[in-house]
């Protein structure tokens, strides 16, 4: 027993390897939040009047709200006046026209993270939008995409260049009245990605955004909006990291997806924000609202997430299945180690007829981590013949962690069917010994067992992301055998 525990401890002590800070000159708004901050952000971005007003309305609404406390996570209250809401790398010119104009130090940062923009551009064929602190620093591959009529740019650029599209869809799925952090985001969002796939176009490459929080005491509030018009398809990847800092940093993003008739959006996240140290000092508060609207008939939205980072993760990528025959999917791996906490899951709201949803959630808890699955399956009266299948599996590593499941099911008609399966297992000494007896080290055994546990989710990830996710899982759980 004791040896196993020691091995576990040893494994858990792997350090966060993205914890470096990049020394770039930045330009920032003074800390604190008031209408002036918002006007400043809006002015910096040369936004049209309607958007400034939208932000201010959101802010005023936010002031009337109370921070929610129903989630199964514990943290000291966030001091919203101590956060810097706008930090941008200082630029010599107004904005980079191409990658050559981007600060080389920033590009170096992305190199360290393993996403050399140029490399990706040339080899992988992944179009990357990289968001550093609050500002998008470079979108690769834009010309090739434009030839197909695909718009993929930073949110700020979209506001300048495609204001009609932004105005039409911004807040359609996540209105600023939706929740506390969505309201905050609507007031102060600084950048993010925007993507529009025109009718009948199948996006020829994976689109990707990489988020990086660099500056101290700053929050990141990005906003992503993806619209897939009739009969189109897009696969979108999102990755995130942050430096190691003692204080907690807030990440409150909003992601909205809209799929029209026969359109499909596949959204994959590998979230590796700094999780804090073993004592729970520092780390990112990842309070994110992600929601997709299957607006058209036979549309499909698929969320896949691998959550290994953040001190606290609190998010429920959801699908509103409005169009008849539309499909929603949620595949999730959430890992907590040390003092990490996660309360994550999904909402599947069935409105249209014959709508289908699938939920596969794999929670892994190690160290003193607390992992909760919280999910809602709601079938409206109108959603005749709707079907849902949910599977929630939890794996415990060691005996000081916790796994919790909070499923909510509401069915308002008699023709629908809902299935829910849940299991909890402990990574077995038997399994580890079996692997050891075949020559595998304990570390390799844990990785193998955990990856096996997560297989159903990993197979939903695009190939190169799947490889990254497996490695990440290995790193997150180093030393955590029970």
């Amino acid at each position: 027993m004791s040896t196993a525990t020691e091995t576990i401890e040893g494994l858990v002590k792997q350090e966060y390897k993205y914890g470096f800070v990049t020394d770039v000159e930045t330009e920032s708004a003074p800390p604190g939040l008031n209408e002036d901050t918002i006007r400043l952000i809006s002015a910096k971005k040369k936004e049209p009047e309607w958007l400034t007003e939208y932000r201010l309305k959101a802010y005023r609404h936010w002031l009337t709200l109370k921070e929610p406390t129903w989630q199964f996570v514990k943290y000291p209250p966030v001091d919203f006046q101590d956060i810097t809401y706008y930090v941008a790398p200082k630029q010599k010119t107004d904005g980079p026209k191409s990658l050559d104009e981007v600060d080389p130090k920033l590009l170096e940062t992305y190199e360290k993270l393993g996403i050399p923009l140029r490399e990706r551009e040339r080899l992988a064929g992944v179009a990357v939008d990289a968001v550093f602190d609050s500002v998008s620093v470079g979108t690769t591959y834009r010309d090739q995409l434009a030839a197909k009529g695909i718009i993929f740019c930073s949110f700020s650029e979209a506001v300048q260049e495609h204001p009609d599209l932004v105005k039409k869809y911004l807040g359609m799925v996540v209105p600023y009245t939706d929740n506390y952090y969505a309201a905050l985001n609507a007031a102060v969002f600084s950048d993010g990605s925007f993507c529009y796939i025109p009718k009948g176009v199948r996006c020829p490459m994976e689109l990707s955004t990489y988020f990086r929080i660099n500056a101290a005491k700053s929050g990141q509030f990005e906003r992503t909006l993806i619209v897939a018009d009739e009969g189109s398809y897009v696969s979108y990847l999102e990755g995130c990291t942050a430096p190691m800092r003692d204080e907690n940093q807030l990440h409150a993003a909003v992601v909205e997806l809209i799929a029209m008739d026969n359109a499909e959006i596949k959204y994959s996240t590998v979230q590796n924000w700094y999780p804090g140290d073993e004592q729970g000092r520092g780390g990112i508060y990842n309070f994110v609202t992600k929601r997709g609207l299957c607006k058209g008939r036979k549309s499909k939205i698929s969320w896949t997430q691998v959550e290994t980072g953040s001190a606290i993760t609190w998010k429920y990528p959801s699908c509103i299945l409005q169009g008849d025959d539309s499909v929603g999917e949620f595949y999730s791996v959430a890992v907590v180690n040390n003092m990490q906490q996660a309360d994550t899951g999904t909402k599947m709201v069935h409105i249209g007829k014959n709508t289908r949803s699938t939920i596969v959630s794999k929670g892994i808890s190690a160290g003193k981590g607390q992992n909760s699955y919280r999910g809602l399956v709601k079938i409206q009266k109108s959603a005749t013949n709707a079907r849902n299948f949910s599977q929630c599996d939890s794996m415990l590593i060691g005996n000081r962690c916790g796994a919790h499941t909070f499923p909510y099911i509401e069915v308002k008609n008699t023709s629908s069917s809902v299935e829910h399966e849940a299991t909890t297992s402990k990574i077995g000494e038997d399994q580890i010994f079996y692997c050891n007896q075949r020559g595998l080290s304990t570390q390799d055994a844990v990785n193998m067992i955990v990856n096996g546990f997560c297989k159903e989710v990993f197979k939903e990830l695009p190939m190169e992301f799947a490889v990254e996710a497996q490695k990440l899982l290995g790193v997150s759980l180093e030393g955590s055998v029970g």
Binding site: F433, N436, G439, D444, N451
Partner: protein, 256 residues
């Protein structure tokens, strides 16, 4: 320097203060097949577990020399890489982990340890195909997760299949016959027999004699209450079968 593969000298071990092995001595030379028989609770599985390095056992005395090395000083994975293989009484399921992937990783650990290059997927599959025939296994087994949803017989066959791939120096078969019907028992035993070579050895642990009809041992040791009380050739197994363990137990009571 002795040339034996395994030399157990006066080994004592227990769990949570309870003494189970009380001074076991046993020497296994290359090319030999040894059987350890004994009634339930005599310490047979403990012996297998201690040799393989399972956690939770306290070694209270004695030593074990394996290939000239202090076996008890090695981690379980090091023992495995050194060619010690345990066919489990209850093979463990590892959901979601592909059998081929698992076995390739295992074989490559052994190869790395020997200073041999690792096999890639194609080389490995070629190797595996031959070994599959030995155990009359269906191809689909390789595509399934390790032991997951296998029948009792499939699990045991898969263990011997792994043994065939890993080519251990010393194979310990822990109650490999339990849960096997007669047909499966034949297949498994024939597989084991084909793996016997002049430079390796097998230690067969069993409660019943019937396995030894197929895997013919050079030596039979009877383990009772943590001690080897009698050693003989294969006839001893037959004698045990007809007379039962009581026969030995009665004999034991006298010299105590």
């Amino acid at each position: 320097m002795s040339n034996s593969i395994l030399e157990i000298k006066n080994l004592s071990a227990g769990v949570e203060g309870k003494q189970i092995l009380k001074g076991v001595s046993l020497t296994i030379n290359p090319g030999e097949v040894h059987a350890v028989m004994g009634p339930n609770g005599s310490g047979k599985s403990t012996l297998a577990a201690v040799l393989a390095g399972r956690e939770g056992y306290d070694i209270t005395g004695g030593e074990v020399i394996y290939n000239g090395k202090d076996l008890l000083d090695l981690d379980p994975e090091e023992r495995a890489r050194e060619g010690l293989f345990l066919a489990f009484q209850y093979p463990v399921e590892i959901p979601g982990v592909n059998s081929t992937y698992f076995l390739k990783a295992a074989l490559n650990e052994v190869r790395k340890h020997k200073g041999l290059p690792e096999l890639d997927a194609i080389e490995f599959l070629n190797l595996v195909k031959d070994k599959m025939k030995l155990l009359e296994l269906k191809d689909d087994l390789l595509k399934r997760s390790v032991n997951e949803g296998f029948s009792g017989g499939e699990k045991k066959r898969a263990e011997i299949f792994q043994m065939a791939v890993l080519e251990p120096k010393l194979a310990i078969l822990d109650e490999t016959d339990s849960g096997l019907d007669i047909d499966a028992l034949k297949i498994v035993s024939e597989g084991v027999n084909k793996l016997k070579r002049a430079d390796n050895a097998q230690l067969v642990i069993t409660h019943y004699q019937r396995l030894l009809n197929y895997i013919v041992p050079d030596f039979v040791h009877v383990l009772v209450d943590g001690r080897i009380v009698k050693t003989g050739d294969k006839k001893l197994a037959l004698e045990l079968e007809s007379k039962g363990y009581d026969w030995i137990l009665k004999g034991q009571a006298v010299p105590a």
